[in-house]
Each structure stands twice: as C-alpha cells, then as structure tokens.
Symmetry: D2
Amino acid sequence: MASDIIIRPLRAEDHEEWSRLWTAYLAFYETELPAEVYQTAFSRLLSGEAGEFQGLIAEIDGQPVGLTHYLFHRMLWSIEDTCYLLDLYTDPSARGRGAGRALIEAVHSAAKEAGIPDIYWQTQEFNYKGRMLYDQLATRTPFIIYEKHG
Amino acid sequence: MASDIIIRPLRAEDHEEWSRLWTAYLAFYETELPAEVYQTAFSRLLSGEAGEFQGLIAEIDGQPVGLTHYLFHRMLWSIEDTCYLLDLYTDPSARGRGAGRALIEAVHSAAKEAGIPDIYWQTQEFNYKGRMLYDQLATRTPFIIYEKHG
Amino acid sequence: MASDIIIRPLRAEDHEEWSRLWTAYLAFYETELPAEVYQTAFSRLLSGEAGEFQGLIAEIDGQPVGLTHYLFHRMLWSIEDTCYLLDLYTDPSARGRGAGRALIEAVHSAAKEAGIPDIYWQTQEFNYKGRMLYDQLATRTPFIIYEKHG
Amino acid sequence: MASDIIIRPLRAEDHEEWSRLWTAYLAFYETELPAEVYQTAFSRLLSGEAGEFQGLIAEIDGQPVGLTHYLFHRMLWSIEDTCYLLDLYTDPSARGRGAGRALIEAVHSAAKEAGIPDIYWQTQEFNYKGRMLYDQLATRTPFIIYEKHG
C-alpha cells in the first residue's frame, strides 16, 4: 500500500521543495514566517548537531510529497531522551497513500535507533483528519497545553 | 501576598529536600522512578549545560516548599528557542501562598533573560486545581498530545 | 447538491427500513437493544403525542437512507421549549450527498415551525466525521456531560 | 457532615428565595433573564404536571441555601424515561457542607422512585469546582454538545 513511498533524510538540494511543503503546512495553521526563519530552520535541520531538529522527506516517484521535523531532547523522568515530532505534512494530492503514517513510523524508528523509546506530538483537538490517523498509530494522552507569552 | 516566598536556583545541598518534593510531585501522577533516574536527573539539573533541564526551588522561611524543572530547546518556527516547563510542585501545607505562581513567573523571567519569549507546559485536562492557577497566568491552547511508545 | 434527497416524517410502513437504519446507527455506539425497546420506540415515534420523540426519514430515489429522532421538551431559561436531536444516521453508501445535513436542517425547520428557536445534540468528542459536518452547521458549546447511573 | 442539610420540594412560599438563588446561579453563566421567564419557570416548577421541570430546595437551619431543577423526559434507547438535571446551585456561604451533593443525590432518588435509573447533566469543561464534586458522584461521558440557533 505504502510501497511506493520512500522516507529519507532532508538534504541540501531539497531546499525549494522543502520550502514549498513547509509553507503549505504552516498555512494550515494560518502562519506565515519571515525568510530569516526559513533560512535558520533549514540550516539547523541540516546541521546534524545535537539539540537541533532533524528532517525527513517523503518521496513518491522521486518527488517530495511530505515532510516531518523532530527533535531529540532531554526528559527528566527517564535516563533516555524523548522525541518531539513538531511538524508533519503531506501534499493534498498525495494523501491516502500512507505518507503521513510512514513519516511518523520513520521518526519512531530513528528515535529507537538513538535509544529513545517514545515520540510525542501536539495536535489541535479539532484536527479531525490528522486524528483519524493518530488514533491508529498512537495514544491520545489526557494532557492539554498552556502557553505564557512574552 | 507572595512576599515571603523566595525563588532561587536548585543547589547541590538541596538534594534531600529536592528528592522529597519531586517524589511527592511524581506521586500525584502515580509515578515512581528508580534511584538511578533521581541521580541522573539531579546531576543534569545542576550541570549548567545547554540542552539540560534547570531547576528552581521555592523557599518559605528558608525551607524548600516547591520546585520546578524547565528546559530551553530549539523551536523551528522562530529564531528564538522555546521553554518547556516540565514539573511544578508545591507542598500541600504551603499552598495558597503563591509559590506555584511565583515558580511559573520565575521560569518566565529566566526564559526572557535568555531571549526566549514563550514558555509552555502540559497538564492533565482534569488537573482542576492547577488549571485554576494556569487560567490566571497563561492561555490554554487547543492542542492535545499524542504519544507513540516503543 | 442535495437535490435528490427527500426528508419526510417517519411512517408506519417504514418499520423494516427504520429498524435496519437504527440498528446500524446503534452499532456505531456498540449498542444492541432488545426487541421490546424497538417496538416501544417505534410506537412512540408514530404517536404524534406531546412529550414523545418524532422521527424523520431521508430518502434517495424512494429508498430510506437515513433517519433522525428528536424531542421537543421544556427549557426553564426561556418561555419556548428546546429541541433535543438524539439520533442521526445515514447509510455509508449514501454518504457525501448531504443527507445528514438535510436531516439536521429539517429538524431545525420543524422546531422553528413549533416556535422553538434552538436545537442541540450530543456527540462523542472523537466522532470526527460527524464533527466535520456539525462544525459547518452549528456551534460547539463548552459543555460536557456527566451521568449518574442507577 | 451533611446531617444539617434538608432537601425538600420547591414550594410556593419559596418564591423570593428561589428568585435570589436562581439569579445568583444564572449570574455564574453571565445570564440575565426577564421577569416573564422567572414567572413562567416558577409556575411550571410548581405545576406538578408531566413534561415540566421539578425543583428541590436545600435548607440549612430553615434557610434555603441551594436549588436544583430537573426534568423527566423520554429516552428512545430504553423503555424508561431519563432525567435531565438542568440547574444546580449552592450559596457560596453554604459551600463545603454537602448541599450540592445532597441535591444531586435527591434528584437521583426522585428519579429512581419514578422508575428512572439514570440522571445526566451538562457542565462547562472549565467548571473545575463543580467537576471536583461530579467526579466523585458520577461519570464523565465522552460527549460534547453542539447547538444550532434560530
């Protein structure tokens, strides 16, 4: 079913397609970010350094159709780090082919290879389409999020 | 009101009181952790290194009555990092005197000093007493959390 | 779009199709009811008496494909009664053609004709497909439901 | 603990105290109702007729300190009716003495005497104080409420 989807690390030559996909993703959250944030994010994603987000691309027929960004970070309740999956996106035209699921599972595999057992992500309560997938793959916790702004 | 509460960084000599407070906090989440996790957590909290959680203690009359643990970590949607407030606890006997509020505000100040505008935390939907405070200080987002375990 | 859908009152000759549709609906809630409840419900739905639920059928090409059950009942906060929409179902094979929306709007019209301005219904938080429709037609309130059993 | 609380049916001579209590309750929901609604509601509550809400008063030392309004209405999923507890209020000065709990339990008893096994009520997700009580007495269902206005 998902056999024609390839998940691979983000690469420098993905810059244009990555920008397109991330912009489409951010638009879902009614968010626009300045060019400086794109530049900084892309450079951090490629840095390979500890404490930086990493990126994966979903490809169908050699064409990027989805992305995810995730961060390994400390967790005090365990010796192991945890993994925060921040962004997840698939082109509308490529949906229903398993790219979202494959991206989440690839993050999970990358975490496990790094000795990290759990991944987590936030989603809006009313992200019904996303949650149809997440309910199959993961567990909804009873946690909600509070934010305090500058 | 909160005038007799002092918030200060966690110190090596707090080990015993810190263990007591963290154990009481974890009990609220019906969680017990092995000694190794306590040792590792305490040593990381005191390390002062980037990528590690930091700790604050709330003191009344020279006696530790509360704690919080927080982590600065990357955020892709901004140049600035963000701040994840993980643990927050006040002794039942010291409640109602503003220690919880003072701890959150001290994390917020520490974040701002580090150039980080926002802090966020998770709480259980049914943590009514906590939410009475959080609703005064912060904004509930529409986000929920999914987890995928090893 | 919904031009081929007819919404009409439940009739005695619908008994078999009504049973089929209600059973399918109840199965969604993992509920099975004894024959006695079917008999009593059907007879009450057709009674035309005050204080009883009423039923509507959605028909496509003369074939029942959906149903709804609703009750007018007192409300203390207004002179007017209110309207509780209890059950709503469309055959999977007929979905996407507007039957669910037409059923809700027909209940709303029936209520308005009876001098009742508002209708309300419950749905499970995780009824994502239903909520995609409800969010277009109605407002989610901040209310949740508690139940105390015998 | 609740030994000094008496729960009894609403009576005609309660009009003034009932108005005071209901006004205070409605103020919690930032609601003001015209005199006509008060008149109609009170007269319906005392009517003793089927299809009307009924009222109970909580008394301490002969003084009304709380009220509840409830309605028996049809339910299609059972032969028995169900019971909708609409309003529940205790004077702030009388809180902590068990009046809210006693009122809910009295509605439950009245329902059982009428052959009705279950009672239910709505509450706002963020009614933390109410929910501390409800979580002890009842079960939170996964249901949320949608409303469609005139």
